[in-house]
Subunit: 470 residues, 2 copies
Amino acid sequence: MKRIFTNETPSHKGEKVKIAGWIDGRRDHGKITFIDLRDKEGVAQCVSTPQQAETYKTAQALRSEWVVEIEGTVQERPQAMKNPAIATGEIEIAAEKIVIFSQAKTLPFTIDTNGYDLNEEKRLQYRYLDLRRKRLKENLTKRHTVFGFVREFLSNEGFIEIETPLLTKSTPEGARDFVVPSRLYAGKFYALPQSPQQYKQLLQVAGFERYFQFARCLRDEDPRADRQPEFTQLDLEMSFVEREDVMELNEQLLIALVKKLYPKKEIQEIPFPQLLYKDVIQKYGTDRPDLRKDKNNPDLLAFCWVIDFPFFEKDKETNGWTFTHNPFSAPKPEYMNDLMAKRNIAEILTSQYDVVLNGMEIGGGSIRNHQPEALEQVFEIMGYEKERIQANFGHMLEAFSYGAPPHGGIAWGFDRLMSLLQSEQSIREVIAFPKTGDSRDLLMQSPSEISEQQLKELHLKIETKSQKKS
Amino acid sequence: MKRIFTNETPSHKGEKVKIAGWIDGRRDHGKITFIDLRDKEGVAQCVSTPQQAETYKTAQALRSEWVVEIEGTVQERPQAMKNPAIATGEIEIAAEKIVIFSQAKTLPFTIDTNGYDLNEEKRLQYRYLDLRRKRLKENLTKRHTVFGFVREFLSNEGFIEIETPLLTKSTPEGARDFVVPSRLYAGKFYALPQSPQQYKQLLQVAGFERYFQFARCLRDEDPRADRQPEFTQLDLEMSFVEREDVMELNEQLLIALVKKLYPKKEIQEIPFPQLLYKDVIQKYGTDRPDLRKDKNNPDLLAFCWVIDFPFFEKDKETNGWTFTHNPFSAPKPEYMNDLMAKRNIAEILTSQYDVVLNGMEIGGGSIRNHQPEALEQVFEIMGYEKERIQANFGHMLEAFSYGAPPHGGIAWGFDRLMSLLQSEQSIREVIAFPKTGDSRDLLMQSPSEISEQQLKELHLKIETKSQKKS
């Protein structure tokens, strides 16, 4: 007999079925034993009585979280025992055969609560048990559904998903890179991507015109409670567009996503308000304003765009110019002459657009600087010497010299967006196997030491005398 | 005016349109200039005459691969000039305005051929130009379509896609790990995943029952022409299944995929033949037999399964036992007693199944050993001491002690499958930014040196005295 899921049992009334899953609970009521069997789709109640002597004996031996398969006949529950609150509440399965696949030790914590009050390190250590929690199952299942929705929306708009490399090159901009020592090339390293920025721009030079990717990004940042060394971004890039085109497409996608998959949520204002950086800083003291008019409404989503950021700001350490968002951005068209003449630098505005939801930045992007001469100006304003520009960005400048389309794009912080949509405080609640805020994997016990042999093959020696930790 | 794609122009006959893209070619015929404009959807012919003096002047200045936007009116071509071979062959666009976005240097190679005869290192160095080639665009576009098809098929079967970590733990089994030094924890390392094997099994312990992922995998292997240090696998895992269930699902998926997306291809035999390891070795001298009856038919797909592999084989170096495929596999049920008693080890068969296409292994998997005692036996047969088992696999053994379902899965070598479906010899032809066979990224020039400062932060010193290369 083919196993069916618990939620399929009500449509098999009077028939024999086979179900399988975990013991969610067992209750003995005199000469009758009730077993709640949980599988990925829900819970079904099974009953066992001494008439089936051997099965009854097995049923009585069952403990929570044991894994079993049960064969039996689906029957209507006595009227008084019906439970309209659950999908299988009208029926029960009269157990005829029980096979035990696995026994289970007592779990280190309960899984029938939302788990917020538990020690989080323990939850992460036993993540495979923590994930049995209904809330986390729903978070990850919804994450999958959102993946699907976004992919379908973008595919229908002519985008194609393209994977970009994980082993790439270290560049000295942005956050710190994680690096990967090469065994074949002594003393050399790959870098893990902080984002697919350069690749997605090169795909525009290649003529793909509409690229997206749910991209895995890695940044070696200092410990912070709600930060992860690896995260997922929805990364997209388009050719022959202006700022408003990218904003419009993303706004339509976000609205469609909320309306379809979160019908109970309410978007405060459509179209999303577009706020100027200088105004939000003045009015809210932050460039991530929380515009919700009713902070007590957990279903209220206040999206807005923030635009017209300064392109450059003074680096506090060097007192030279540095970029505020992304060196590959184009200035707003009316500032291109200033950029080319390197004048009024503090006044130059970038084409950057950030999308903010309930006070959190959930995405940001810009129109890019597709003219190699203009991109070079950016690096020169930041004080990079010709050699450094050539060494780090020579391949981009060269690429743009073979016919580059105007292009722009965006990246969404997908974990953050999911946490807001799922009404979670922490991004760890929407990631299957998160690390701690200080980048430890408590389940696998990573990072960990590697063997002398591995070190030798990688041409490395550890310098332990400095700040050895943990 | 909103820009449209070239393939949309025929439905705008008599109307004014705006298109944008790359100059695919320019021909001057006396007082008329023809411009082929290429965008992601195809090519459209534009015409310019001296009647529009300024536009004509611009048109004559255009060179191959310049990026432009053209406004003009769609008109029917003179009868003799119609080209039924292309989608826009009935019409042409009378150019009224031409905007030049970018000029282009002469490309280092031609892009209007299939490119097989070009120097591949050059192709990889200028990958963003190589990708302008129609063949490569089609390969990546089809790859996207296959992603979508597989995702929809599996989602309809109740699978959800779950991302697993990239920064994980080094284990001494299988191929070599790439490792990532930790800055926060001196002397410690993460490992990049060779596959999500342990995570996908832990997701079964968590009760997800049906998991899949297009997973990025990384292995530090020795140079070989058609191997990549990073690759993509379709990774899936199911609970409460037997070997035949996983094989059946995957066979149905492969058949549906070919029928829907490759209707010209012919599957030689359905259901796929199931061959025993001992028979294929005897008959073909390989466990990846090429069963094609007509090797000259490029559209013939001869799938088969190979099953009943030995679980263990003698390690040539140590003369101890080692696993042939995957230490987490279960033996076939009838050999479980032998495994538990550690007897007749050479005769124990594993539940492993490989799927082979035209002589290439495109996937493999097994039913897993979900009983911790049985899994321990495997490691003991291989001579691992208790401490080593505990250190490397303790978390898996513990996980299985909290109620583990019987489960099994498979991983497809997705790059290889795509290369076969696209009739390509090399997996590099179906990867956007591949590395060389010896793991160099010629576009980004990676791996490369990192700064003294980075090394210091990572608590590392390079030992250069050994075989310094490149």
